[in-house]
Symmetry: D2
Subunit: 289 residues, 4 copies
């Protein structure tokens, strides 16, 4: 299992200086892995990122949330096709960087929709994902659809909803990505979604209910980590937190980050790294009971 | 203490037939009070509503969320003024209907903002609320600002943030409205915000984390109800739940109601009425311990 | 599923007047079933109880906790044999009363032990239970071993510990009885023990962490009831609560009931009946999500 | 604030070798303070302990649970007087060792009582504690009464019950000691008892619901630590955990430690030290929210 952290904990800009800050911060906090937000995959230099993370002995993954102009679930075929192209590019640069995971809201726009999803839109997204699954598989990249709350997609807001959508996608290498922040809003429990997802769960985000320090909100992390142990989850476990102290033009406003929940990235990250590893260790001891 | 229910549990339309369905449903479920969504106060017949609720022996309150065209926190004075006018009308019709409470997102638009709030916008909203407070006071109506999550306002997402905004408003009769659904996302606990708000808390929404049946999500209701008892809260306690089974064009999409969380309004409402009263009763017994 | 209540909610004495009070209270609170404490099965008139519960249209079950003189897990064969005789009698009178369940601490004394269990003691208890299982099966009575906390037995304090002991018993008709009050002390979660027990779970006690009103303590009932739904549990679900307001000489002191947690049996019982049924109903709606 | 650990995490024997193991373990895990069980204060060499802890730069405190022969709340004046003598000796040796805190069940026997407390017994204990308070004050030692569950005392099982008993004691320097393990059984919340106790809270035990690894049970630590911050608690915070892997003849059986919840003291202790400090740190950040 690799324990990681989202780059926005350290920097809002992912140019070379920003990447360096994120990589150094990741390493100093004790994480194994850095998740990079791939807001613009066309501007992303996979080879450079690959060298930089290799030099520091950490792994990388990438996530993204499509915008309305690249909405894979759009009924407008041109828009959906633009989304598919962007995701093709994203798969390629992740592979170039040596990454094995592309996740996030890669099946619809990451936005507050003002209408429910349509069957045609779902079908368009599912069909594109099946094609993307082939490309990702060939590139050694696993695609995982992040289940997010009602304000960030209208396609699926729960693990069970996500599994139903995966059936529609019908590809063996397109999987689920669960995030405790979103689960706390949408699920009826923190353990059952993990059991329901089972081996279709391939990526995990650890976020507190308000996206600040772990352990200061309403997320029942104990149940979630016990669920991971119960299904033998062995994929990435990545900490996410957002504060107005670190701003990404493209991401902070989309996510509604209006509050300063922390102002010391290094302290936050080291705390989260210990929190996650300590939870995993503690859950192991239940086997003795 | 009056236990109430939001009208959208019963109907998505608030014409006379819709009102009748909501009033009957409220009464049959055992509630004391019906909260009506005042999406268009200009089309709301206060006198009619007053007669109808009186006939059935229940009380009424009203809530609303401003839209972008009436955003009280807009830096565009004309927009803010349109919001203020709408709220003046809302106060008047609530008074006409015999109501004593107007609450909700009445200080900004109820929407996913794409930028942080500005000082000028906050000041405009605060100044307008101070004037509205005078009008409301004269009309015997209490204004309570609903603290909602980051996707529904950018002004204040926690009780403490709300109290800071109340200081800016500076009016003795403009208060706070807390909602367990939003608190579960934004607060660091369910009890302390109630203590912090103290006697500035004048309105309460009871909603589950996913806005479905009470007791099936992640909200720690016990802590919240113990908090109410600790501060001696005696105002309205109103159940809110939304499902795609009952749709309001203006409200359901704004709130992101994409899922069917229930399909039997009467069962849901009676369950919630018992849940709330049973929690209040149980908490009373702690005095014996 | 039958929803029931423990007799000590209504009376501390189980003579004919006490039985009448308990049966009437059970019925008035809306329960289907009365669980009777079988502290002295030799003094228990099964035929009378059977007629009385039949007359009121409710079902009965019985529970007991062995005392030190009848400790089935004693290394002293005479003591263990006395326990076995008592349990034979208990099975017979439950069957006479038309009951289908005998549960509780029927595998050791219900007491604070001052030494760990011994292998010989466990073996003696297991062998006796295998024989008792045959007798119970023939009588149409299911035996369920109640897993209790460290202060009430030393044999098994968790569902998994109980399952290991059931393997030692090796009888298809001796099962588990879980109690939320004890689980809250000993288990690492409220859902997994139910999953682990699966179809070996045949009896359930619902108790709050301090044994008072449901919903005023630390028990995570939501997870427990979701677990019951997940395994399709269909057996008795019985409310237990103890207060110094109703005292049984033999039971209250054994259980350490030093506090007055309630003083109105009828209110407590009706509240618990609604709480349990409302939780079960709410959990059903998760299927829609 | 000093973060400490109970000696039984490291050793079951408190001879010089045992003390050395405990002191070394305390220090290596990162704790500031070692709490020593003072089961036999007459055999305790305060001067030696003082030198040993000083040499390692850690602080010490002591706790004890009276046995039946020294029950301060006994109606038998000779027994109560024996308890008082033992506690006088305990105060003296704590002071000799340079300790500033004596806590635990120092107001009754630490045992499962078989009868409720009597007024005469409570009065005897209260009067003795008032006298002991004077002696402790003179020696620079704070006495804190540990509120424990129903199976370990019959005098007071909640903070509010403890406060009522403190009124009876009537001494300004006899205070409360809360323990999360016991609170999880007896209290109606983890935050309010801290608020209720306020500045009478002078000692804290951090234990999980089953007394194993922190974070694997049902204790709501977040609420408890938020309570400590809210009242500005600044006293010792001491981790307690018991497993059958480390046995004290006098203590393990009294506490009902029948299970192996961990087998690596060093890992357990370092984990707990991080858990407590990380919770305290996280709670600090709430001030920003």
């Amino acid at each position: 299992m690799q324990i990681g952290v989202h780059g926005l904990v350290f920097t809002g800009e992912f140019d070379e200086a920003g990447l360096r800050a994120a990589i150094t911060g990741t390493q100093q906090a004790g994480f194994d892995l850095l998740e990079l937000p791939l807001m613009d995959p066309y501007a992303f230099d996979g080879a450079l990122v690959g060298r930089m993370v290799d030099d520091h002995g950490i792994a990388m993954t990438a996530s993204l949330g499509l915008d309305a102009a690249h909405d894979l679930s759009s009924e407008d075929a041109a828009v959906s096709r633009k989304g598919e192209s962007l995701l093709e590019r994203a798969i390629d640069v992740v592979a170039e960087a040596g990454g094995e995971h592309l996740c996030g809201v890669i099946y619809s726009a990451m936005q507050k929709y003002m209408v429910p999803p349509t069957e045609a839109g779902r079908a368009a997204s599912a069909a594109a994902l099946a094609r993307l699954g082939d490309r990702a598989q060939a590139a050694g990249v696993t695609l995982s659809l992040e289940i997010v709350n009602r304000y960030e997609t209208n396609i699926a807001n729960t693990a069970r909803g996500g599994l139903r959508f995966l059936e529609q996608v019908g590809h063996d290498d397109v999987h689920l990505h669960l995030d405790t922040y979103h689960m706390n809003i949408e699920e009826s429990g923190m353990l059952e979604p993990v059991l329901d997802a089972g081996d279709r769960l391939r990526y995990v985000h650890i976020g507190e209910s308000h996206r600040g320090y772990l352990g200061t909100g309403s997320v029942d992390f104990g149940s979630f980590f016990r669920g991971l142990a119960r299904v033998g989850y062995d994929g990435p476990v990545v900490f996410e937190s957002f504060s107005s102290a670190v701003v990404s033009e493209s991401l902070s406003n989309t996510l509604g980050i209006w509050r300063n929940l922390w102002d010391d990235s290094a302290d936050l990250a080291a705390h989260a790294n210990r929190f996650i590893r300590d939870q995993l260790r503690a859950v192991e001891t239940i086997a003795l009971h």
